[in-house]
């Protein structure tokens, strides 16, 4: 039982560390698109770590199936729908006139948007 509790704490702590890393990236990155990349860090390993820890807790300590299914639904929902939102907001930001700081974009992309 002690090993189980240590495993749960370790998983949630890993999720918390990656969430902190993503938040620091959102606060300090120099560019809008880089901030988006850092925010992906929060929504993948942060969610997976905290979700796995909570799932172990609900299955082995609480022992209720309904709560475990709801935790799975939350994590699966965030993981499945997040790339669609990231894609939408990246394309919208480019369309609204925000460009990457360094000029390394290919010319084709600008052409495809201008036509």
């Amino acid at each position: 039982m002690l090993i189980l509790r240590i495993a749960i704490d370790l998983l949630i702590a890993i999720g918390l560390i990656f969430a902190l890393a993503g938040t620091l990236g959102v606060m300090r990155m120099p560019d809008t698109f880089c901030r988006m990349q850092a925010s992906t860090c929060v929504t993948t390993l942060g969610v997976i770590g905290v979700g796995l820890g909570a799932l172990l807790y609900t299955i082995f300590i609480m022992g209720s199936a309904a709560t475990a299914v709801k935790v799975l639904v939350i994590c699966g929902l965030v993981l499945v729908t997040n790339p669609v939102g990231a894609h939408a907001i990246a394309k919208g930001a480019y369309q609204a006139g925000i460009r990457p700081d360094k000029e390394m974009e290919t010319e084709d992309y600008r052409r495809d948007f201008d036509e």
Binding site: R5, I8, D9, I12, A13, G15, L16, A19, L20, G22, T23, V26, M27, T32, R35, M36, S39, V42, T43, G46, V47, V50, G51, A54, Y57, T58, I61, M62, A66, T67, K70, V71, V73, I74, L77, V78, T81, N82, V84, G85, A86, H87, A88, I89, A90, K91, G92, A93, Q95, A96, I98
Partner: protein, 95 residues
């Protein structure tokens, strides 16, 4: 288990750090990215608090929060993209 409430408070504090970018961010996309992060972190913190307190109602609210967050993000992204569909190769001719 006391650990869950400690982790929940830590997640809430990390979510508060995102408010800085939400206030300062120069463009709408920055603010929306920070708001999305805040939303997901608050949802996770609510999930851990629900497991700590043993009440199921917080878990339902966490599901609704996650759903509304993703809908907000797509709405603002589509607004910035001037109302076009995300993948408009097929639907452009019929619009």
């Amino acid at each position: 288990m006391k650990d869950l409430i400690i982790f929940s408070v830590c997640l809430g504090f990390v979510a508060l750090l995102n408010i800085y970018r939400m206030i300062k961010g120069p463009t709408a996309a920055d603010r929306m990215v920070a708001a999305d992060c805040t939303d997901i972190l608050i949802s996770l913190a609510m999930m851990l608090f629900s497991l700590y307190s043993g009440r199921g109602i917080y878990l339902d609210i966490a599901i609704i929060t996650a759903m509304l967050g993703i809908i907000n993000t797509m709405l603002v992204g589509r607004y910035l993209d001037k109302g076009r569909w995300l993948y408009h190769a097929d639907t452009e001719d019929s619009d």
